[in-house]
Subunit: 421 residues, 2 copies
Amino acid sequence: MADWPATLDGARALDAADPLSAFRERFVIADPALIYLDGNSLGRLPRATAGRLATVVEEEWGERLVRGWGEGWFEAPQRIGGKLAGLLGATADEVVLADSTSVNLFKLALAALLARPERRVVVTDDLNFPSDLYVLESAARLAGGAVRVVPSADGIHGPVEALAAALDGDTALLSLSHTVFKSGYTYDMAALTAAAHRAGAPALWDLSHSAGAVAVDLNGAAADLAVGCTYKYLNGGPGAPAFLYVRRDLQAALANPISGWIGRRDPFDFALDYAPAPGIGRFLTGTPPILSLSAVEPGVEMLLEAGMERLRERSLRLSEYLIARWQARLEPLGFRLNSPRDPARRGSHVSLGHADGLRVNLALIHDQQVLPDFRRPDNIRLGIAPLYNTFADIHTAVERLRAVVVERLYERYDATGLLVT
Amino acid sequence: MADWPATLDGARALDAADPLSAFRERFVIADPALIYLDGNSLGRLPRATAGRLATVVEEEWGERLVRGWGEGWFEAPQRIGGKLAGLLGATADEVVLADSTSVNLFKLALAALLARPERRVVVTDDLNFPSDLYVLESAARLAGGAVRVVPSADGIHGPVEALAAALDGDTALLSLSHTVFKSGYTYDMAALTAAAHRAGAPALWDLSHSAGAVAVDLNGAAADLAVGCTYKYLNGGPGAPAFLYVRRDLQAALANPISGWIGRRDPFDFALDYAPAPGIGRFLTGTPPILSLSAVEPGVEMLLEAGMERLRERSLRLSEYLIARWQARLEPLGFRLNSPRDPARRGSHVSLGHADGLRVNLALIHDQQVLPDFRRPDNIRLGIAPLYNTFADIHTAVERLRAVVVERLYERYDATGLLVT
């Protein structure tokens, strides 16, 4: 990859040649001067979404009123989940949209624990999103079990061997973030799932930082369970409903531990006793959130149109280009690569460490019109959304990062984010 | 109330004289010929809501992107909850919007059970919304407890004395729907809460069928816990986020059993261990659903403007008028009043039973442009939303109900809802 172009014009030429570049126009770009590298936290607004939501609000809710439930609302979690399944290597009857990632993780982890009461331990790592650790702890406590957090040796790479060694006959569940939120390390899902299966335990993957940017093959990996959010690379909007996946052959054996009416067989019977719905629907709980669900659908449709393989390919090219630019322009200034160098083990964001990372990040946002995010202790996290980020974005962001340090712009900020007067 | 007018003109005169009638114009009324009596299932769309949502989507998400979290999104559950508290007799720091009613019920019921492990039984009744029974069963099972369902003697009135008798030193929680979904019976919250307290147990109220139409005084009743939905009389939209209430002095003693990052103190520390946020915020779990939350706010603001006492007064007048019209026009045709006659014990919907109720309801919807809903075995449930339903609505609906039976229009339908050919 020594032949990456060094100039902004070169970056623009790469954009011009890329078959996915046209998708950028299908997003609202309110401020073209802003370089947005935080699509791994909140994806941009697809142009189609505002119109779709207005239709649902004004025509469906406003005009059809409660009749909407019989005219497509009731099936929305399965309908949109079925489309999303196409991005995740799952079949349409294995994915639904529901609740938040945390609630879905709670439901599936606790379901797995309760299905195997003779096994007590949930195995995870310290790279997992902290909320996942809290929720796994909640679920384990209720089931009389415990969580074993395997540490990463370097804070960047997943502790693959230590995890495999931790899996044993007392393991009820292996639960990991497929792509970890800080370093962007991506696990080999098939290998870790196989390791869990060898120990007789199911594997539950949090796909929040993968879905829509990293090719995921849940069925190919024989993954048992998965959850994830839709507001990052899926562009579903702030706090959009999350998803959950349960492999088809496991659905009948697992009970939803929060058994609400929407997960019941024939909910409008209003019977006093619970009987689970057949299939993936049993993992639903409360009334589906129609407005926010409908905002998820256009983004998913657009990603399907682009195609997951092409998205991953573009994400990797953009990431490799970013790393090449880091090496040429930022490493000499003291920036470290806090993400894996191996593209096969990296998701779609790249974390750069710097001794003054927090202040550099503040200057980048406030003075340089570049919007990444920051994760302690020192990570400037650059998210690459393959549908709208460009080679030119990356070239410019790297040059502005350089300027912040060379021109010592970060010295205007203190560590609390305030301007130093 | 013998002096209710008998004519449609008389009903219109009542509307013209009512100080709240002007609020109807602040809702989208797409089809003025439709009599909508299902606001107890899904409230109408407030005119302000579409605009508010468009602002949040296009200006906040579209333009501010992830910065929105620092510009009001993060506080939305508390901000809107604080406003809603004003309709519920609670203080602003006792209510948040979160999750679905079922998930909130699960969280609070399980929190109460785990706080008192020496007590095992959740007491409820068979008038409760079935989903509440399923969820209470879920929570009780996890805590090693059980649910005791006290039957109503007549299927209409709450079994107040039997409930009081069921409360004892083994009671971990009393959990009831304040207004029950089928008959519209409304419990005396203060009296039942006091009965629970005498047994040493907290009371958890589901306010779904009360909030926004029945005056609720959570603090005045010394209620401990409450949940409810926002898509009925609060007009928050299909599947809108639910709310939960925890009395201030109980907040520190109860632990959220689904401990996600938004309920953590300083979630952006990303610490690996959970420490609950102070106050009501600890009962949050996942990322707040900003789009659907923002759709709840305009409806709540409008109800606050109308004032809960005036809303309840209007709801009662409309209900009493409906019952007077039933007595004059429908009782002679075999319609029964399946709701309490005492207005103090009735919420804001009235259920009318009829031997051919399901078919009558179908004819009403398909031939008569009246939209109530139906609850087995024979209830035609007429919801009265005091902000937009009118005396004229009720007069017309009763006459159309009459026509369906007198003209035998219902004979065109069979019990499955199909037209009889």
